[in-house]
Symmetry: C2
Subunit: 151 residues, 2 copies
Amino acid sequence: MDERGMLAVAVEEARAGLAEGGIPIGAALFDANGTLLGRGHNRRVQDGDASTHGETAAFRAAGRRASYRDTIMVTTLSPCWYCSGLVRQFGIPRVVIGEATTFSGGHDWLAEHGVGITILDDPECVGLMTDFIEARPELWFEDIGEDIGKD
Amino acid sequence: MDERGMLAVAVEEARAGLAEGGIPIGAALFDANGTLLGRGHNRRVQDGDASTHGETAAFRAAGRRASYRDTIMVTTLSPCWYCSGLVRQFGIPRVVIGEATTFSGGHDWLAEHGVGITILDDPECVGLMTDFIEARPELWFEDIGEDIGKD
């Protein structure tokens, strides 16, 4: 499966989250051959769980693994520091990102530490987040830990 | 509650994890007044869940919150990159660490980004990890994403 094919799985997850009333960010973990290991999406709203971002959901769904050296994390949006830390700690060597226009997390930091980063500038991913941030800004800022109107 | 009192809660969690056959790392999230918001421990072995570290378990247990500006993360061990990323992303302003001798994660990076870091050099925390790493090195290296004997 190529990068666009892998991203399509993450986008399916993002759309599933949106349909549930949640934050439309999805991710999937693949092995180096493009075999799907796990997939998931942000579940802050659905489960009241601030710890489940798209990337952590996909990572968890892939189950307990001894090594991630042959894996690829694919996500609809630039990974936040939490999810970037996950990638670095577990040695995931490659991250494919739908877009980094509406939000820029830790992907440059990951690249500095040897992680291969591809940003696909996917219009569908940009559209999902642009529409969502416009519709639910308070929910988006909550998800990235930014207090608005409080400082 | 003072730092030692808060650490005692995290140590209880670490010991609970050890008693379950798991990795003895515990954490707890408090508010600035020392009120407990959530507590938890590493559950890699117990749940087959690589995503549940002590800090992420405590964070999840605290429930969905709009802000973490008044919180303190207390952990028995220096937070790995994954858990350090969690602290940075959600703006947790202070981390109290039992020890950073047996493992050093991202606490210096957090300090560079304005997070208040206290390392208590607690002998009980050091003992828990020293004994565990000696007894189950393969499990420990799996938990921090280090391949041993494979490179």
